[in-house]
């Protein structure tokens, strides 16, 4: 499940500016612990941002995206007060979705 994302979506006229901060370890699988054993990979692979039925951004990520990933982008045609949903799935099958109203 992970911790809630911080999502900010701000409408400026027709344009909605979206900023997302996810809470995820984004472990690469390349590191070793103090005993020299490899630390298993654990990272977000799929991200999608939807506005109603419309997907406004989708992404595929590898382990080189920083821990607690940040993502910012802009889309046209969003209305103030309407919901924006962000969801991710990681390589262990864990997933999370959070919603925010466009402000």
């Amino acid at each position: 499940m992970g911790n809630p994302m911080k999502i900010r979506a701000k409408a400026d006229g027709d344009l909605v500016e979206v900023k997302i901060l996810m809470s995820h370890i984004m472990e690469t699988g390349q590191r070793k612990n103090q005993a020299g054993e490899p630390i298993p990979a654990h990272y977000i692979q799929l991200v999608s941002v939807t506005y109603g039925a419309r997907t406004v951004l989708s992404a595929q990520w590898g382990p080189a995206v920083s821990a607690n990933p940040f993502l910012a982008f802009k889309f046209k045609g969003g209305q103030k007060g309407e919901k924006l949903k962000v969801s991710w799935t990681d390589n262990t099958g864990d997933s999370r979705g959070d919603e925010v109203a466009i402000g």
Binding site: R31, S58, Q60, A64, S66, F75, N91
Partner: protein, 153 residues
């Protein structure tokens, strides 16, 4: 020499993933599938080939907004913008990471080809912004100096 069409026919499982990543024109949008092979490539040219393209050529229409020097390779802010019409996908590549591809984004109609994220960099090297626009692959490059690597313990 394998044609694009032949390549796609011979790699059915990959097609869904490519559609999902926006690197192909979507005929029908199926459920997303993570493109494992793409994230195992070591060079940008190999990635483009895998995605069914050729080149890529450098383009002044694509810009990378990032610091010249990043103190912490674990968190390097990268912004990418494309002025090209029909920009359908943007990928961020780090030349000297163990695997070159960090992230790829599909840009549907109505979403601007202008996004920011943060990536890990193992060492000083080029970051590439690979863009698919109008069926062609183009890129921009920027060298970023790292004073502390992002893949160490």
């Amino acid at each position: 020499m394998q044609t694009r069409r032949g390549f796609l026919k011979s790699s059915g499982g990959l097609v869904a993933a490519l559609l999902a990543a926006g690197f192909l024109e979507p005929g029908d949008l199926r459920a997303e599938e993570w493109n494992k092979a793409a994230f195992e490539t070591k060079k940008m040219e190999d990635l483009v080939k895998l995605l069914g393209g050729t080149g890529p050529a450098e383009s002044a229409e694509v810009a990378i907004v990032a610091p010249d020097i990043a103190e912490n390779g674990a968190v390097v802010p990268i912004g990418i913008t494309s002025k090209l019409d029909k920009t359908r996908a943007i990928a961020i590549l780090v030349e000297k990471n163990p695997n070159v591809l960090a992230a790829m984004f599909s840009i549907p109609d109505g979403t601007l080809p202008d996004l920011q994220t943060r990536v890990k960099m193992a060492q000083t090297c080029n970051v590439f912004a690979l863009v698919r626009a109008g069926g062609k692959f183009v890129y921009a490059a920027k060298e970023i100096k790292i004073t502390l690597g992002g893949c160490g313990g």
